[in-house]
Amino acid sequence: MIDVPAISIRGLSVSYGRKRVLSNIWLDIEPGVVVGIVGPNGAGKSTLFKAIMGLLDQYMGEVHVLGKPVEEVRKQVAYIPQRDDIDWHFPATVYDIVVMGRYPHKGLLRRLDAQDHAIVRQALQDMDIAQLQHRQIGELSGGQQQRVFLARALAQQADILLLDEPFVGVDVTTEERIIQILKKLARSGKTMLVVHHDLSTVQAYFDKVVMLNQRLIAYGDTDTTFTEENIAATYRSQLPILHQAGLVE
């Protein structure tokens, strides 16, 4: 099993109407790493996520998760959407959200048993939010909200976590704390893909980096891949901005 990549993408191309969004992507991601996904707006980052979640209607190529077609291993993939897509007034407590992670294992009507609740409690403890479990989700800070969704992914016992800009609206201290949590999860064999915008922290946060701009510009260890040359190739259209930010010479 060790040889099976967590995610294997072979020749993926996606178009919306006439517009090509992803072009011939070949990518194998091994298990147990925290991967940053960087690229300008419209680079196809969210389309790549959709492909891995099996939500694309039309595409060319193959996407395998843990060696199987996505449809067969949906339970193993947990998606953590951007925070601004969420209705924070929704009548749900922290516990209600985390327990959702058990639904894929239970179908429509099977009751949640003691074991399910034990898994949920463990997830709450691991994310250090057990004391907040009766709060309505809108009554939390940005960092706490993010940990609620991580806890749901843990309760789902998913092996692959897809995080869409998890650090937006979260303070620096919490951001560092979340990245520590992700690194710990990676050590236990889970694979994390993180869409990330702050190029200044890529080096510190991620083991590996996917650099995307419709094509796959580069993938590999952050040390050797996140180079000025690759950044320039990825953000070609936005060079003046990068120049100002001092990220390229």
């Binding site: 979640m53 099996g54 939500l55 449809e71 949906r74 339970k75 993939v77 947990a78 998606y79 959407p81 897509d85 969420i86 209705d87 929704f90 009548p91 749900a92 407590t93 209600d96 959200i97 959702m100 639904y103 894929p104 239970k106 429509l108 009507l109 309505q136 789902q156 620096v172 201290t173």
Partner: protein, 494 residues
């Protein structure tokens, strides 16, 4: 006529049963409608079933089952039409709803007035618009009961997928929930409920039954399960209450039901726990009073330090408040024994003031270090947040900043309560000091004895590194980690 005599008559009993069922199913179903931002769709479906009824009348005559099928068909057609426009045209969602339902409604109204021209037709437009709950037939009751069972059963069976897909549609898709199918199924249930409500409240006001009880319930609970229970209950109370009110005041039942639902909403909006206006106002007043008191404590603390005599005038001037207000706040502080009769801070008052100053200066330090804002820009922000930052967050900030002892303006940051006035961690290299006789932490004293460092021991600092200190005493050296060094109180040796 005597009220009790009226409601014991058969038509009244039937009307009551019909309203109860309609109130229950609309209330429960409405919760999902409101949460999915589809309130307008409920309104649209209500209006749009009219042509279905007309077509059914032309085909099979006056027949409840026929009306039901025709109406549901028209409802589904409307739902499909709206969705099609939303997905294929560059028309905004709410505009798409408006286009489809007004068109359907108009066709329906024209149809009814056209067939009413023929003689012997007892199809009254008014009954469809405002309901005719007092003319409920057995067949109507059976249909409503069937609909109720179906709606409630579907919501119980589909509770999990409905919950997930209403809260986060994308997440629902990723775990394999058929979101589109669920959407159309909900539309079907909605058409059923709307048709069943036709007799009670009519097409114009059915939206009140759908969204008002649900919105009221959303004010009352923060868990979906309980919101559903509340919504059902409030729906029943509105429907039955409205019907009884209509009988008593001899008015039209449909509008009376809508008015009762709205009154219940207003009551909840005022008194609901947490979300109600009354509670929110109360909390705001409490917060305002706390801020006044805390600002006063800080002011007293500073005046104490500068040994300025404490007068009402001095306080009023430095706080920018009227002398009357100052007196009121002072008497509140005295009642809480934070100050004594001479307006001197008590031990408790001093601790509170120090905690506030700690919050203020820590936040300023945090902003200055992490955001690069200039020290002169951050005072106002800290002035506001010192009252609001929770203790544990301050501790986290304190730790992440490495327990700073001065703020960006150069003022000392008081240590957390229970920490020493002169912590060992601030002892400069080469300086001599003594372990102070008074130590705030019992456990630290025990640790000091274990290290052969009882109070009174003379020490010298050799090295400091990020709060960690290397000290020499009695001819030996000892490295103390920062979490201990911070808690040891020392006295400088002159």
């Amino acid at each position: 006529m005597d009220f009790w005599a009226v409601i014991q008559q058969e038509w009244a009993t039937r009307a009551l049963i019909a309203s109860t069922m309609v109130g229950l199913m609309c209330g429960v179903l409405g919760v999902f409608l409101v949460l999915r931002h589809m309130s307008l769709v409920g309104d649209a479906l209500g209006h749009a079933i009219l042509p279905g009824v007309v077509v059914a009348f032309i085909l099979v005559g006056y027949n409840t089952l026929g009306f039901f099928i025709g109406a549901v068909a028209a409802g589904m057609l409307t739902a499909l039409g709206i969705t099609w426009i939303q997905q294929h045209m560059r028309t905004k969602n709410d505009a798409a709803i408006g286009i489809v339902f007004t068109a359907m409604f108009s066709i329906g109204v024209m149809g009814i007035s056209w067939i009413s021209h023929e003689e012997g037709v007892h199809l009254d437009l008014k009954d469809f618009l405002f309901g005719n709950v007092l003319g409920v037939a057995d067949q109507d009751l059976y249909l409503a009961a069937m609909t109720l069972v179906m709606v409630l059963a579907s919501i119980i069976i589909l509770y999990r997928p409905l919950f997930v897909s209403t809260f986060q549609e994308v997440v629902a898709r990723t775990i394999g929930i058929k979101v589109e199918t669920l959407h159309y199924f909900l539309m079907l249930m909605l058409s059923f409920a709307v048709v069943a409500s036709l007799q009670t409240v009519g097409v114009i006001l059915v939206v009140a039954m759908l969204i008002t009880p649900a919105s009221t319930a959303l004010l009352l609970s923060k868990r979906l399960k309980w919101v559903l229970v509340w919504a059902g209950l409030i729906g029943v109370v509105s429907a039955v209450g409205g019907l009884l009110a209509a009988i008593v005041f001899e008015t039209t039942p449909g509008p009376a039901i809508a008015v009762v639902a709205t009154i219940l909403y207003l009551i909840a909006a005022f008194i609901a726990p947490e979300k109600g206006l009354a509670m929110r106002t109360w909390h705001r007043i409490q917060l305002q009073r706390r801020i006044e008191e805390e600002d006063m404590l800080k002011c007293l603390f500073h005046l104490c330090r500068s040994s300025t005599p404490i007068t009402i005038e001095a306080l009023a001037q430095s706080l920018g408040q009227s002398p009357r207000k100052v007196r009121r706040v002072l008497s509140r502080l005295k009642a809480k024994s934070l100050i004594d009769d001479k307006w001197q801070l008590t031990q408790k008052g001093r601790a509170r003031a120090a905690a506030l100053i700690r919050a203020h200066r820590l936040w300023e330090t945090y902003l200055a270090q992490r955001t690069g804002l200039k020290p002169e820009h951050i005072h106002a922000d800290a002035e506001r947040l010192e009252h609001l930052l929770p203790e544990e967050m301050l501790d986290t900030i304190d730790e992440s900043l490495g327990f700073p002892s001065i703020d960006p303006h150069g003022s000392p940051i008081p240590p957390k309560e229970g920490l020493p006035d002169h912590p060992l961690s601030t002892l400069p290299v080469g300086q001599q000091a003594r372990i102070a006789p008074t130590q705030p932490d019992e456990q630290v004293v025990a640790e000091l004895w274990r290290l052969g460092l009882p109070p009174g021991t003379q020490i010298e600092c050799l090295e400091t590194d990020d709060g960690e200190v290397l000290i020499r005493y009695n001819g030996q050296t000892q490295r103390l980690p920062s979490h201990i060094a911070r808690k040891v109180n020392i006295e400088l040796v002159k």
